[in-house]
């Protein structure tokens, strides 16, 4: 996995919310650490100008609560804690994403979609 990989911005915009929720599910964390873990996971460099407005929306939507803690010999850090509502959103989005990636994966590999699927029935 190449941590310096730069993915198309449109792809990242679609998946960043889900990825951040997933990292928050591991425990309380703060903005820079989230950005660093996203980079280590191979999503490229996520700028603060992209990440923090997303965290702000999580706060407004009740997906997270926040807590300021003194830093380790440095400035204070704003920690984000995933709420039950946030966990429910994570679960919901994860399910949708898996279904979406299954569909796109099949499309790209040219494999026919399995019959009798819910989505197949919706198309009919």
């Amino acid at each position: 996995m190449n941590p310096t990989q730069e993915w198309p911005a449109e792809w990242l915009r679609g998946v960043l919310e889900l990825c951040v929720l997933r990292l928050l599910a591991d425990g309380p964390t703060y903005g820079y650490e989230l950005a660093a873990r996203l980079t280590q996971a191979g999503l490229g460099h996520i700028k603060g100008g992209t990440l923090y407005p997303l965290l702000r929306r999580f706060e407004q939507n009740g997906h997270v609560t926040v807590q300021w803690r003194p830093g380790d010999g440095g400035p204070g850090r704003k920690y984000y804690l995933l709420t039950e509502q946030g966990r429910a959103a994570l679960e919901d989005l994860t399910g949708q994403w898996r279904e979406f990636t299954d569909l796109t994966g099949q499309l790209l590999t040219g494999r026919p979609a399995p019959t009798g699927t819910t989505r197949d029935q919706e198309v009919r």
Partner: protein
Amino acid sequence: MTMSRHDTKASFETRVAPHVDPRWAEQFIMELRLGGVAGTEIGAALAEVESYCAESGDEARDAFGPARDYARALDLETSAAQSPRRVLAGALPVLIQLVGMMAVVWSAPALARGEDLAVTAGMAINAAALTIGLGVMSRWPQPILRLIAFRPWIAWVVVMVAMAVIVVPVVTIRVPMFTVAAAAALGGGVVVILAGLTGDVVQTRRASAQDGQDVLAAPLEGPGTVERRSRHGRWLTGARMMLIPAGTVVLGVVGVLLA
């Protein structure tokens, strides 16, 4: 401990965000203030930028983009103290004092000359223009403040034109509409100023009791630091309240001396 306004402002940005370009921080704070965001929210947002820049080593502009764009992207709520209703309520006592000020400034020279005050059409236009101007500024403070902050040359031209509209009629349109005893006009003006000042004090205290003093404050700041900043803010508020009464005295004396 006495702090100048400049020292207090510079100290906040330097103390809260030493790893952030001061100019970026200043624009960020200004944009949020113009958006009516509360001081504590501004402090928290700036502290978070500082936290990121301190650990990443990135410049604020590189990590967060232009300060104004990032401030808008955060979509922070407007504080109740900055709502249009509150701003208008705060402007009304000032408007009342301005009316009293005009009465005193116009009547003082006439009283010194032993004459009645001749209220001209130019004075009426002057009063109407001031009222409308203050009303517009109170109803739409943010666009006007943005113009002053980010387009200072355009704002300067607008102010010059506004002053001309306000001052020129008094000087050029001298058609008398009616006369009034100068002493009565001056006394009435003083009463109106005192009434407006009382209203200003009451309004300010009520707003402070409801919302607290809206000072810039960062998370984890010591209560002593915030209290010093609040005290400085109260001093500035008191000075602001005395601006019209003091200006009235000065202009009244000048008018009498020139009469």
